[in-house]
């Protein structure tokens, strides 16, 4: 799309790069919504000169030049250790590890769980769209029972391949005091933004590990229209993936665990 087609430039976070917008995600993809919330939070917390943004392989890799932030694209599943390595070397930097459910809950699950167990002072954000999207829509640990993917063409059979992995709960289980763990959704942006903000504030306060899973959309591989896409992310996915906060540091301001 050339700039001439859109006469009025949409409002974008100042931490976004404007020279490479519109972004490269598919129409209807949830990544843009997650990154919008994240960009707004980076603006509000005035972190543009402190953040190092790391993205995984999978669709999240398209975010490597998305922001006006120093950034590195890593390998599949390895964003958590790369950002851990940066944080351990330069604790003054605010390190964000951005990944999908395949990267975080499958090939890189040992890194995510171990970083949580060590209470690494980084912020991990995981977009869960229930399948491997970049590779063409294969089953992921998060694929819902009965959901059709390229490797479960007749629907996921939990007898053969198990039930959806509750990754946020798994991370939450190994975390200790100081960690912040929540699950938001692109279908509730106000809530998502508040979770992302707390996840970054928690790193700023140097309390511990911060993790936000975000229920996200993939109409391309779900083969859904707009209404079906929204129904899936807003109604179907939360049946397995409960929205809300499961860990909040004791001294984090605001009310108690805010469940969706």
């Amino acid at each position: 799309m050339s700039k001439g087609i859109c006469p009025v430039e949409p409002v974008m976070p100042t931490s976004w790069r404007k020279d490479n917008k519109p972004h490269k995600f598919c129409p209807g993809c949830g990544h843009g919504l997650v990154l919008k919330c994240l960009g707004q939070v980076v603006d509000e917390l005035d972190l543009q000169d402190k953040v190092v943004f790391g993205c995984d392989i999978g669709c999240s890799l398209l975010a490597w030049d998305f922001f006006n932030l120093d950034a590195v694209q890593t390998h599949h599943g390895r964003t958590t250790p790369v950002m851990t390595g940066i944080k351990r070397s330069r604790p003054e930097l605010i390190c964000i590890a951005y990944m999908g459910d395949g990267g975080g809950y499958s090939i890189g699950v040992q890194h995510l769980v171990s970083a949580a167990a060590r209470n690494e002072k980084i912020t991990a954000i995981l977009a869960n769209n229930t399948q491997y999207a970049m590779t063409g829509g294969q089953m992921a640990p998060t694929t819902l029972p009965g959901q059709k993917t390229e490797t479960t063409p007749y629907g996921r059979d939990p007898e053969l391949t198990g039930f959806p992995l509750q990754g946020q709960e798994m991370v939450s289980a190994v975390c200790r005091e100081g960690a912040y763990v929540a699950r938001g959704s692109v279908a509730n942006q106000r809530q998502l933004k508040s979770y992302l903000k707390k996840a970054l504030e928690n790193q700023l306060a140097q309390r511990g590990f911060s993790f936000v899973e975000v229920l996200s959309t993939c109409p391309t591989n779900w083969r859904t229209n707009a209404a079906e896409t929204w129904e899936f992310v807003q109604e179907k996915m939360p049946e397995y993936f409960k929205l809300g906060e499961t860990r909040r540091p004791a001294d984090m301001r605001g009310e108690g665990l805010a469940n969706g």
Binding site: V52, W64, D70, V82, G85, R88, L93, H111, S114
Partner: protein, 362 residues
């Protein structure tokens, strides 16, 4: 707080792993990331004892993938970061090393070779040559120093940080279980008081100023959409690598001018080769030796010269032809008869080399 680590040169009697920890300190390394595997463990043991005294850091990771990728992170942040591993750990390490190749990240990796394939032995081998020189899904854009003594472990660990940060290719120090575990005398020194300039690291990310305001954002990727984009990058890197090669390649050679047979060995096996050549010369046999110090890049012109001027060449290694394969490629087009003595995963003595040579030369 920081103080000068080695005030004045001193003789010491240390294990190789201890030497590596001291050398990393002397090279002003900032942080080590590591995962336990024999026979490199004591590098971590000594580093964790020494590091806090000099304001250095350590992180024990969940596996070698993480050890490699956190090392990548440390370097991205502008710190001299290193890790150490062996065997199956080296296998996993190839993934982060390939990312370091693509982003030109000067990570330093110390390998103490153990037996292979698989878990094999925790003891010794030279079976990680192929993987360390050419591992990963790429073109082997790394520098590999193969040491043969504790003094060299010290010298080349210091040098590895400089080579890595000067040329921005991942750099290996390739030792083995014997070198790791045995004790040997050496001289510890402060490189700067010997006139060795230590190259200062620079951050890739987390640079001063606000990205998009004071400067362009510093952004790195390892994925390319187009074949031609990748071709351009890889060709540029290989050109840089080719230009670096003659400046980095190192070797040792002796007694080859009149030799009927030249023996080639690297690493700790070179000690047996050198002793064998001395003993055989004393018995009147015309033998010489050639030793590649860098296994990648190799000193190709010198290897071609040896293979052109000798009738016979005997390659001796504690692997089944991993060095021999590299040499064959370097010596392509030359005429020497190519003889081999392969002892995968076991040590080689001077006496065994001498016996082999006497058999050949009758």
């Amino acid at each position: 707080m920081t103080e000068k680590i080695i005030e004045q040169e001193k003789r010491a009697f240390l294990t190789g792993n201890e030497v590596v920890a001291w050398a990393a300190l002397a090279a002003k390394a900032d942080i080590m990331y590591g995962y336990p595997i024999t026979p490199q463990n004591e590098i971590m043991h000594y580093w964790t004892r020494l590091a806090p005294r000099y304001d250095k850091r350590f992180l024990q990771t969940e596996d070698e993938l993480s050890a490699g990728f956190t090392t990548v992170g440390g370097v991205l942040a502008g710190r001299k970061a290193f890790t150490a591993t062996a065997g199956p750990g080296n296998t996993l390490m190839q993934e982060p090393v390939s990312m370091a190749e693509m982003l030109r990240l000067p990570i330093v990796v110390v390998i103490q070779q153990r037996g292979g394939p698989s878990t094999a032995t925790v003891i010794y081998s030279q079976q990680e040559v192929t993987m360390t020189t050419l591992g990963g899904n790429g073109e082997g854009m790394r520098v590999v120093y193969s040491t043969s003594s504790h003094q060299e472990l010290f010298d080349y660990t210091i040098k590895a940080f400089n080579t890595a940060w000067k040329y921005r290719f991942p750099t290996f120090v390739l030792g083995d279980g014997y070198q790791a575990k045995m004790r040997e005398p050496l001289t510890l020194y402060d490189p700067e008081s010997r006139g060795i300039e230590l190259i200062k690291p620079e951050p890739y990310v987390g640079k001063p100023g606000t990205p998009g305001v004071d400067r362009a954002p510093s952004q790195f990727r390892n994925t390319y959409s187009m074949e031609e984009e990748l071709l351009e990058i890889v060709n540029q890197y290989m050109q840089d690598y080719g230009e670096m090669a003659p400046q980095v390649a190192e070797y040792q050679v002796a007694n080859v001018e009149d030799a009927d047979l030249v023996i080639i060995g690297h690493g700790v096996v070179f000690r047996a080769v050198r002793a064998a050549v001395d003993n055989l010369r004393a018995r009147g046999l015309k033998v010489g030796y050639f030793r590649p110090v860098t296994l990648r890049p190799l000193a190709v012109p010198q290897i071609k010269e040896v293979f052109s001027n000798s009738k016979k060449v005997l390659v001796v290694e504690s692997a089944y032809g991993q060095l021999a394969r590299l040499l064959k490629e370097a010596a392509y087009g030359t005429t020497a008869e190519f003889l081999t003595m392969f002892r995968p995963g076991v040590g080689i003595t001077a006496e065994e080399v001498e016996a082999e040579v006497e058999k050949i030369l009758g």
